[in-house]
């Protein structure tokens, strides 16, 4: 049986790398046929690019690695529930599955505010599992914002 916790540990490692670099700590990996084919963390500040979320970078990396925009058999692991942009990218990439850690009540688009990945009206649906290593995933974010005393997260990857 697939060990979701093990793959989420790799996403958590990416999130911790982000924190060290002063980025809101969200990490993601893409798994394809049991192999991690892409790893990424949020790089919005470093790149000054609004789209440089962990999930988007991981999807782009997996497309490069697999040579296709269709990631049909791929599973994306991410430490935080995706925002609408990233959830939409998962549908575009025809991702098989999304596994996330902490819920994002402020901007989550895999069930919290909206559910873009399981909406029958779109041309693809992604299977969702939430709450994997939830406490650790939430703690990485909480510690980051606590250390930045006074700064308040404003949604997905600090919005």
């Amino acid at each position: 049986m697939r060990d979701n916790g093990l793959y989420m540990a790799e996403a958590l490692e990416q999130a911790r790398l982000a924190a060290i670099r002063g980025e809101v700590p969200v990490g993601a990996v893409v798994v394809w046929r049991g192999q991690v084919v892409a790893r990424a963390h949020n790089r919005r500040e470093e790149t000054a690019d609004a789209t440089a979320h962990a999930e988007l970078l991981a999807i782009q990396g997996a497309c490069r690695r697999l040579g296709s925009w269709r990631l049909n058999e791929a599973i994306l692991y991410v430490t935080l529930e995706p925002c609408p942009m990233c959830a939409g990218a998962m549908v575009q990439a025809r991702l098989a599955e999304l596994v996330y850690g902490a819920r994002d009540p402020k901007a989550g688009a895999a069930g919290s505010l909206v559910n873009l990945v399981e909406d029958d009206r779109f041309n693809h649906r992604v299977k969702v599992t939430g709450g994997v290593r939830e406490e650790e995933c939430a703690a990485v974010l909480r510690d980051f914002f606590r250390a930045r005393r006074g700064s308040v997260p404003e949604g997905c990857e600090s919005g």
Copy 2:
């Protein structure tokens, strides 16, 4: 007064470039203080990247050009109503305004299927104007799919 039709003509030019290259013809430009700071068309097939939609590439280009992930004063013109990924990216980039041409009843996320850009629950809202040069924008897509006889579009930028 701002001439939306003039900027949409530039987006249409991008869409036509996409068609020539065998890409589902959607084009976008980002305007900032009256200047076009980024132009892009859909490049999904060429790049084999699920995220290479016109709008996402235009937002990334504008971030590079302006050196910031915040595009507060920017207006994005696109020939087709954005999909959830692209609409979500507009919110992430704090875009001021979205102007689109043709509606996308199958995957549109600026009012057709969902409205992610004007949702009060998110931390930013984008002003929307639809239907600018609508017939021309729709015709570019229609002609493209007609020429590819038998192929059926399956949503945003062919889904």
